[in-house]
């Protein structure tokens, strides 16, 4: 097809479009939706397990837990903001660096937790058992959140698809881990590192791989 004919076709097809709202507003909307979903799951868990919310939030008495929780929350929020910025063609690629400080803090805090566990409990504290439930819950929360995010970021293929997918998946997984911390106890920090950190890395890796294939085909 000749380029001139393509232009004629595009012009003939061009219907008025609604401009996207600013990325921060859209990120806020998505985060609101994610908060509602996570709050819903937390309440459901509290109901099913017959525990009061006070019990769920009791862990905040532990400063180590509180710091980790806020670090994972910050990772989620900054990564989601970065994803919405990167999904637009004319925004700086440097946005992808936005979640890095929070990710570093999160991993450091979990790592520090592992170290104190070692000091307090010795090697026994490290084998606190496995928790496939964590994996399932993080993936289970991440999939609907990720699908909603993918729909909101559907124009990202135009400029930085892989970067957008990476930070988007990081944000989704980090927020799922944040929610999970509220309703699912883990005995040791190493388990948190393995299940939260590991699942987050797995989700980011899988999303990147799938995303690259999808965009390559498109």
């Amino acid at each position: 097809m000749k380029t001139d004919r393509l232009i004629d076709t595009l012009v003939a097809e061009a219907q008025p479009v609604r401009r996207l709202r600013p990325p921060l507003v859209r990120a806020g909307l998505w985060l609101g939706g994610a908060a509602a979903l996570i709050a819903g799951i937390t309440l459901f868990h509290a109901h099913v397990e017959g525990e009061s919310l006070r019990h769920l939030f009791g862990q905040f008495a532990d400063p180590g837990f509180t710091l980790q929780w806020f670090a994972s929350l910050a990772t989620g929020i900054t990564a989601i903001i970065a994803a919405f910025e990167l999904s637009l063609p004319d925004r700086s690629r440097a946005w992808r660096l936005l979640p890095l400080p929070a990710v570093a803090a999160w991993l450091l805090l979990i790592g520090y937790g592992c170290l104190t566990d070692w000091v307090e409990r010795g090697p026994d504290g490290w084998v606190a058992g496995h928790s496939l439930k964590c994996l399932g819950t993080i993936i289970g929360t991440s999939v609907p959140l990720g699908a909603f995010l993918a729909w909101m970021l559907r124009f990202a293929g135009a400029a930085w698809p892989v970067e957008t997918i990476t930070v988007g998946a990081l944000g989704t997984a980090a927020l799922s881990a944040t929610g999970l911390s509220l309703y699912h106890d883990l005995d040791a920090s190493l388990m948190i590192l393995i299940w939260h950190g590991g699942t987050t890395a797995l989700i980011v890796w899988a999303s990147r791989t799938i995303g690259q294939r999808v965009f390559r085909r498109a």
Binding site: I7, L10, V11, Q15, V17, L20, P89, F155, A158
Partner: protein, 198 residues
């Protein structure tokens, strides 16, 4: 043109494109057509910097226009238009180059086994001779000579048959043919010399 004047011109153009794009988002088809026609030569020039094959260049330009169309709601009219367009164009060019890289990696280069001669020219298929110069030279001959060549060479008649057909004697046919060959040889060899010089 001074650098400043150039910058001012670019800013003016950028502003005009931003205005056209905003109008296109609101459904103004004429503005959209003007915009796409205005950016196409620029996109083609950019694509040519990375791709040599004219087909690839045109493909990637169309690819950019299609993407621009698909994501036109992502443009924010309060921001400059060119960075938005350039980011889309760059992504499409990079994807095209990567696609070519993958294609090259999958395709096997067949060694030139069919080439059997050391001289490169000897392996080329011989081109069909160009008869147009000969026909032109024959057409330019005097009528008697032209008739002799046509009957004896093009129609492959014998002297006797040609003599009967033309009414010329065998002797005059021979003389006319001889003169015609001489003239043709002169004309055609001169022509070839010219070709070689050019």
């Amino acid at each position: 043109m001074s650098e400043r004047a150039e910058q001012e011109r670019d800013t003016g153009q950028g502003r005009e494109l931003a205005r056209l794009m905003a109008a296109a988002q609101d459904g103004d088809k004429r503005a959209y057509a003007t915009l796409l026609q205005a950016v196409t030569p620029y996109l083609r020039a950019q694509a040519r910097r990375y791709l040599r094959n004219p087909h690839d260049v045109e493909d990637v330009v169309q690819d950019i226009l299609l993407t621009l169309h698909r994501v036109r709601q992502t443009y924010d009219p309060t921001r400059p238009f060119m960075p938005w367009l350039v980011a889309i164009a760059r992504r499409r060019v990079v994807d095209r180059l990567r696609g070519k890289g993958r294609q090259d990696a999958r395709e096997v280069i067949v060694p030139p086994d069919d080439e059997t001669f050391t001289g490169a020219a000897a392996n080329m298929e011989e081109e069909a001779p160009d008869h147009s110069a000969l026909h032109a030279a024959v057409a330019a001959l005097p009528p008697g000579q032209r008739l002799a060549v046509e009957l004896l060479k093009f129609q492959d008649l014998s002297l006797k048959e040609a003599s009967e057909r033309s009414g010329m004697t065998v002797g005059s046919l021979k003389v006319a043919a001889h003169r015609a060959y001489k003239t043709l040889r002169g004309v055609l060899s001169g022509h070839r010399d010219e070709d070689e010089r050019g």
